[in-house]
């Protein structure tokens, strides 16, 4: 069984690039897997042949199927329901924040413009979810 990745759902190449830089800066070697839009993410997650991600970093606003739909799909699909999902969004809108928690997001983070801040935010996030938190096994067991 291949190692379980951190799934980054992100349509912006620049933002994904920044994530890669930040990972590099943080000297983290976690396996990152990227989906460039919502549909891509739905395909990836529906495919049971592929491994169950450790964590989903989900961008909210994407063209086509957006993050809310991806989140709703994860929470309404028994196989995926327990997957940890952290929303990463530019939007600070209260409505977006509330909607996401309603839909079952595990956390909601606002992407800062400042790179240093983002790096720090990513460090804490990954330290917590990949280091501190006890994650569920795949729905189908190890």
């Amino acid at each position: 069984m291949s190692p379980r990745p951190v799934l980054v759902v992100e349509d912006s190449d620049e933002d994904y690039q920044a994530t890669l830089w930040a990972m590099q800066k943080l000297e983290r070697t976690d396996l990152l897997e990227r989906c460039t839009d919502g549909d891509d993410a739905l395909d990836r997650l529906s495919d049971r042949a592929q491994s169950w991600p450790k964590l989903v970093l989900l961008d909210l606003n994407m063209p086509g199927t957006d993050g809310r739909e991806v989140l709703a799909f994860i929470r309404s699909t028994p196989y995926l329901r327990s997957l940890p999902v952290v929303i990463l969004s530019t939007s600070a809108s209260e409505r977006d924040v509330n909607d996401c928690y309603q839909l079952g997001a595990n956390a909601y983070l606002i992407k800062p413009v400042n790179f240093a801040q983002y790096t720090e935010q990513l460090r804490i996030t990954l330290d917590f979810w990949l280091g501190l938190a006890q994650l569920p096994e795949s729905a189908e067991g190890p």
Binding site: E14, A18, S89, T90, S93, P112, V113, N114, F115, Y118
Partner: protein, 786 residues
Amino acid sequence: MTGPDGQGRAAETPALSVQVARLGEPADLTNCDREPIHIPGSVQPHGVLLVLRGNVATQVSGNTETHFGLGVPEVLSGGLGALLDGETLARVQGALATESLNDNPLYLLTTPVRGRGLFDLIAHRRGQQVILEFEAARPGRPPVDSYSQVKRSVARLNATVDLTEFAAATAEEVRRLTGFDRVMVYQFAEDGTGTVIAEDLRGDLTPYLGLRYPASDIPQQARALYVQNMLRIIADVTYEPVPMFARQGEGVPDEVAAPLDMSYCVLRSVSPIHLQYLKNMGVNASMSVSLVRGGALWGLIACHHTEPRHLPYDVRSACELLGQVASVQISARQEQRDQSYQLQLKTAQTQLVERMAEENDLLEALVGSGMNLLHFIDTPGAAVCLDGEVVLLGATPSRAQVTALTGWLDTQADVDILHTQTLGELHGPAQEYAGRASGLLAVKLSHSRHDYVMWFRPEELQTVTWGGDPNKPVEVSEDGTDRLTPRQSFAAWQETVRGRSAAWQTEELLAARALRRAIMAVVLRRVEELGQLNDHLERSNADLERSNADLDAFAYIASHDLKEPLRGLHNYSVYLLEVYEQQLDEDGAAKLRTLVRLTQRMDDLIDSLLLYSRVGRVDLSFQPTDLNNLMADVLEVIAPRLEQLNVQVQVQPDLPVLTIDRVRVGEVLSNLITNAMKYNDKAQPQVQVGAILPDGRAAHPDLRVPDGVPAYACVLFVRDNGIGIREKHFENIFRIFKRLHARDQFGGGTGAGLTIVRKLVERHGGQIWVSSEYGQGSVFYFTLEA
């Protein structure tokens, strides 16, 4: 002459003649309107009436013996020749043949008849009959110069200025001419009632001026007769009527014996009811001259005398002439009066319309001081009901009664103008206030709401004094049967006029209609203006909603779509700096650092804009909040920066409790305090926060509270010893992104802070303003109460 019906005469009836029967039953008040007074079948006794057909005498009054010493049969058989001697006979016959006598009694001459003294001989023609009246004349009386008498009177009448004065002069002139004890001028109203509008009388008599008489006092057929024949005289009300006798026999047509039409006869016997009427008033002789306007009886000149009085023909004709002159004059004066009332109505209407145009408030225009509805139509009371408001003017029913009245009016036929003289009969509750509003003239202003203009007229009974004693008991006649006497008519009549007002004149209805049109025009214009305003508002609202939606969309775009590329720019710049800084020269590296700073600045601006866009729309949560408590929280949050900048903050210890949104007011205070410490070049920045309670304003003479801040508002302030603001910028500082300083001076704010503060204060219903001395420091004042 033994009885009122002349029955005693029957025994003396000569074979040649038959008594001319009176038609119908004896008249009383129930039938006096039908009493055939023009064919009474009898005459007054002070003269002899002779009817001729050609040279044949067909009828004669039964008093020939008394006056001429010649019996009725002799007169009937002998004709005129039996009475007049040759020369006089010739003159009379000549006059009868040549003069125009149709319906126009003409004085022929004064002559002795059969040596029995002087008689005035008056003749007129009625169809084929010539009617001759012999009136006993007083011997030795100088003839009256009617022309000069009337000329003088007319000159006097012409000099009067109005109808009232004119009527008074008429009464005086007629009394001067006739010597009657009392001369009155009556004016008839449309309903037939008569009012004494002028009077001249003997000093010891009770004046009747202003008295009003029921219409029944002068029955319809009498009125008709009064128009035909201008003058009537009763020489002695106690007279016994003298019956007429007609020729009978072979070759005499039946109609000869028919009762004579005495419409134009001066000797005509009058109704016993009228005689009773006069007796009741203590009058023994009377004369009346008709005042005719446009073919209708306008009024009467009524003369009364306490003693019997016979007025000679020449004086009567002077009076008649005066009556004709007066009739013409009265028409003119009445016209003048009507015109002046119409002019008043018109003027009032113009003024009201002008006021409605000027005055924003329609109600105020209609009922305000000066010219108002009461000056418009001549009534003692008026009311306006408009938009749920009821305004009463003068003598009116109560507000509740008027409101109830509008409810009733709403149920009436859909007419614009409604008027009645008998409101109580139509609207039961109005009987309670008949004294104020028996007459109603209502103008409907809208078809959907209870909007009316109303005028009220009181019950007429209360506005006039009635002639006679309405309570006089029924008189019992000699034969023991009850008979109504004229005065008894009052009681019955009073009942019929109870709850009735004076009539509404055609001019008044027209004026009301004109006023309605004017009001409707104003109302319609207002509605139109309001409609336009509404449309405008709706458009503005729609625009506003659209701009809000746009702002929402913009905010969202700003937060996301702008920030994403911004983040890209920033991140790449940072990456370039980190990875390639060593390979760039200092200039290149500096430019990259600037790029990073610019992206951060743009990020700040976008955040401020987002915040600002939200301030106006978030729902505030108002709670009574202790400001002391709130200040402590605020200071705790910004404590690190205060320490860093070595700022001293003094907070007044007893701040009030206000009903506010705690979080937003916290933002306001925090923002103002942060500004105070940021824009400060002193070594020891000082900030004071405090409150000026409403009753403490006097202690702050420098406090200039802007318009619209209520006296009860608590004024909060944040004072600093900072750089101060020039007065010309006092307003600028509150405008979004309007900065007074270079971007990076004083900590480099975005310029949205004070704009957001002002918006938050305004959302609390308060105001914010600044007072500052440049270089010395500033004070920001604000209130949180509207």
